[in-house]
């Protein structure tokens, strides 16, 4: 058991590709941390550097109190579970699990005891004499986990261990991994590209993009207070809807108007737009307009007349009025999910808007509907893929959900 410290870790591959860019990460003892991000974001490379399978270009890695930069993998006291399980095909399940201990010259009775114990935890006692070829995917996965836990290492490293399992098995194994972590309390670093897996497993999740950590926090915080547009779009399923537009003052009140920024113009005559002060920027389009809620006005003050991106999660759009603003949309597709359903909508300017609402009968496809926006839960971002979440600049906490 140990903490793992990454300080300014950088990986540059031959050829100059920067896979990981000076990341800092402090993983506490007994913590379950999940690295998540799209493919090519550097999450696997980071894990492999911790494992010692990949050389570190710059920075230091500490496991416990020891700098392990140049320590070979076998001496780092870690165990890893691979995506393809990487079980030794020529060894039985028992030998697969005992291999690491045998190489460390652990006495035979201790090996036996530990393997049996791990097999019991994972319910694979009846498989110990089989070769990996004779196991199903789920069983192989358990053996791979068993091989890791018999070693009793300082840290577990998981490299997308569930991605080769079918959907149902993935969910059950996910829960088992969580239970296992509660039981063993070993520091765990887990890599996945699946945000749902990350949310359910991690004590903290680390969202990465292009070799940079975007946000590292508890699942709930990354969901409620995403630091930027990328995190907001990555965490949560279906992803957040984003609308480009402009903040402007209408009759002294701050509003967001959806529209294309190329069309922006400055109001020069009173007649152009009576509510908007002369000298202000406005959009002549026919996008929707919603008022900016009170608690956000302070932090958005400097952005009036500028391009911002509005983010609304699908679950914060609803068909029933809870006292929010509404926007008019066209209903394209209804996807019933049982308790909930996903509505695929279209605004005048935005062809792909998703809403998750309670299951509802009698919705007519291709009709116009009114969607109510939960104004307490909307976000405003700077434009750009990783635009900063402007709503967080304020010290005032978000309305708790």
């Amino acid at each position: 058991m140990a903490q793992v410290l990454l300080e300014k870790i950088t990986k540059i591959y031959p050829g100059g590709v920067k896979a990981v860019d000076a990341i800092d990460l402090h993983i506490a003892d007994k913590e379950f941390i999940v690295l998540v991000g799209p493919s090519g974001c550097g999450k696997s490379t980071t894990l492999r550097m911790v494992a010692g399978l990949e050389e570190i270009t710059d920075g230091t890695i500490r496991i416990g109190d020891r700098v392990v930069n140049s320590v070979p993998p076998k001496d780092r006291n870690i165990a890893m579970v691979f995506q393809n399980y990487a079980l030794y095909p020529h060894m039985t399940v028992y030998k697969n699990m005992a291999f690491g201990l045998k190489l460390r010259k652990v006495p035979k009775n201790v090996i036996d005891q530990r393997v049996m114990e791990a097999a019991k935890i994972l319910a694979i006692e009846h498989l110990l004499d089989r070769k990996p070829k004779a196991l199903s995917g789920g069983q192989r996965q358990r053996v791979a986990v068993g091989r890791a836990i018999v070693r009793e290492p300082a840290a577990f490293l998981f490299d997308e261990p569930l991605s080769n399992l079918d959907a149902k098995l993935r969910v059950t194994t996910r829960a088992e991994l969580k239970r296992l972590h509660h039981r063993l309390k070993t520091t765990t670093i887990y890599v996945t590209h699946d945000q749902e897996e990350a949310m359910t497993l991690g004590d903290r999740i680390v969202i990465m993009k292009d070799g940079i950590i975007q946000q590292a926090d508890t699942p709930l915080v990354t969901y409620q207070k995403p630091v930027n547009r990328f995190v907001a779009g990555f965490i949560g399923m279906p992803p957040m809807n984003f609308f480009d537009g402009l903040l402007k003052m209408v009759n002294g009140a701050m509003v967001f108007e959806e529209g294309k920024l190329e069309d922006a113009k400055v109001v020069t005559k009173r007649a152009d737009e009576p509510q908007v002060a002369i000298g202000q920027v406005t959009l002549p389009g026919n996008g929707f307009t919603i008022p900016v809620p009170e608690q956000l006005r302070a932090c958005l003050g400097a952005k009036v007349g500028k391009h911002v991106v509005l983010g609304i999660r699908p679950e914060h759009l609803s068909l029933t009025d809870h006292g929010g603003e509404s926007i008019n949309v066209k209903l394209n597709v209804v996807e019933p999910l049982g308790n909930d359903m996903d509505l695929y909508l279209e605004t005048v300017l935005h062809p792909h808007v998703v809403a998750r609402v309670e299951a509802h009968a009698g919705l007519e496809v291709s009709s116009q509907v009114k969607m109510f926006v939960d104004l307490k839960k909307i976000h405003f971002f700077e434009p750009g893929e990783t635009g900063v979440n402007l709503s967080l600049v304020s010290e005032k906490p978000h309305a708790a959900a």
Partner: protein
């Protein structure tokens, strides 16, 4: 061989009449035609032709075996007499036996193809070859009951084994072949592991260099190598490449490395790198990763490589001739040639044929026993293991 020909004498005349060599060929052709008609693809025709070819080479082999059991006089007077007696037109028993056997042969080939749901090329050729071989061998045994020429096999083989020293040469051949195959397998497995699984600068160019050296004919380097090795020796170990079994082993190993590394590299690449990574984390160093993980996993590929090398080295003639001059250290192929040279005027043909059979039997047995392994090994690495 105790087999009463009178049993066959009771076979009706009609059946005997259709049993002549032309009928055998007809039977076989019918079998082949059935095959082709069964699945009219070019591939099947190709394999039919291939099995005929296999049949021809087996007939030649059969002729050598039969000749090794007769007398020199028989052979010199009528070289094809052995075969003629084998196909004795006038002996109804022999003829019937042969007819049955060859008909069986065609049948076996046809059956094999029909039964195997999806015979691969290799399987098909082997079924065909085995069918033919089995049938002919059976025929030879049956016919042998009536061929008094076979009576001399014992003296012929004893002469070849002792007087022509085939026994001694056999020991040399076994030592040299087994030694060099062992050395090649070990060295090439290690080299291939390094060239495919480890990362170091110049790795790929080194692999290409090995592959490129396949293009150099060994005959080309024979003379320069001889001139280099002639005067080179380690006095302290009393070692020289000349007239030394161990020297020849090293030369063979060096010559076979490029081919073996080339053969194995595809196979090693097909073994997942994650296994090595898992082993590294489990506590293996480079060498233990190789010896405990990749070496056992490469066993099928290594076996194939070992068999190919064994057959090549067992039959190797040029280098054995040039580097070994001491008659005590000669290998079988060279010894066989000396048998021809020394008996130029003595005309001990049956003993020579006995020598050929002695030379040929080990490789043949290896092929028979390990054929599946060889075919499997050749396609290994092409599909995900």
């Amino acid at each position: 061989m105790h087999w009463d020909p009178n049993i066959l004498a009771t076979v009706p005349e009609k059946i005997i009449r259709i049993a002549n060599p032309f009928t055998f060929i007809a039977w076989f052709t019918i079998g082949v035609v059935i095959l082709v008609a069964w699945d009219r693809t070019r591939l099947k025709i190709l394999y039919a032709v291939k099995s005929l070819w296999v049949g021809f080479s087996i007939l030649a082999m059969l002729w050598v075996i039969i000749s090794s059991m007769g007398t020199s006089k028989d052979f010199v007077q009528v070289p094809e007499k052995a075969l003629m007696q084998f196909f004795d037109y006038h002996n109804p028993a022999t003829m019937t036996a042969m007819a049955v056997c060859l008909a069986c042969c065609g049948g076996i080939v046809a059956l094999a193809v029909m039964l195997a749901r999806r015979p691969t090329g290799g399987e098909y050729s082997f079924y065909a070859g085995q069918g033919l071989l089995g049938a002919l061998g059976l025929g030879a045994l049956l016919a042998g009951a009536h061929f008094n020429g076979f009576d001399h096999w014992r003296e012929n083989y004893i002469r070849a084994w002792t007087i022509a020293r085939m026994g001694d040469y056999m020991i040399n051949s076994v030592l040299i072949s087994v030694g060099s195959v062992g050395l090649i397998t070990l060295l090439s497995a290690m080299a291939t592991y390094a060239l495919t699984k480890l990362e170091f600068p110049g790795r790929d160019s080194m692999l290409y260099l090995f592959v490129a050296s396949l293009a150099i004919p060994t005959q080309l380097i024979l003379v320069p190598l001889f001139l280099m090795m002639r005067n080179w020796h380690v006095a302290a170990l009393n070692f020289s490449f000349m007239d030394s079994r161990f020297g020849l082993i090293i030369i063979y190993a060096a010559l076979s490395l490029p081919f073996t590394i080339f053969l194995l590299s595809g196979f090693f690449r097909s073994l997942p790198s994650e296994l090595g990574e898992a082993a590294a984390i489990d506590g293996c160093g480079e060498f233990t990763t190789f010896s405990r993980i990749y070496f056992p996993l490469a066993a099928p590929g290594l076996t194939t490589a070992a068999i190919f090398n064994f057959i090549g080295i067992w039959n190797e003639y040029n280098f054995a001739l040039v580097f070994i001059t001491n008659p005590d250290l000669k290998t079988l192929p060279v010894g066989l040639y000396y048998l021809v040279v020394t008996q130029q005027y003595a005309a001990e043909w049956p003993a020579l044929f006995a020598g050929i059979v002695i030379l040929f039997v080990p490789t043949f047995l290896i092929f028979l026993i390990l054929q599946r392994q060889i075919i499997a090994g050749l396609t290994l690495g092409s599909v995900k293991g």
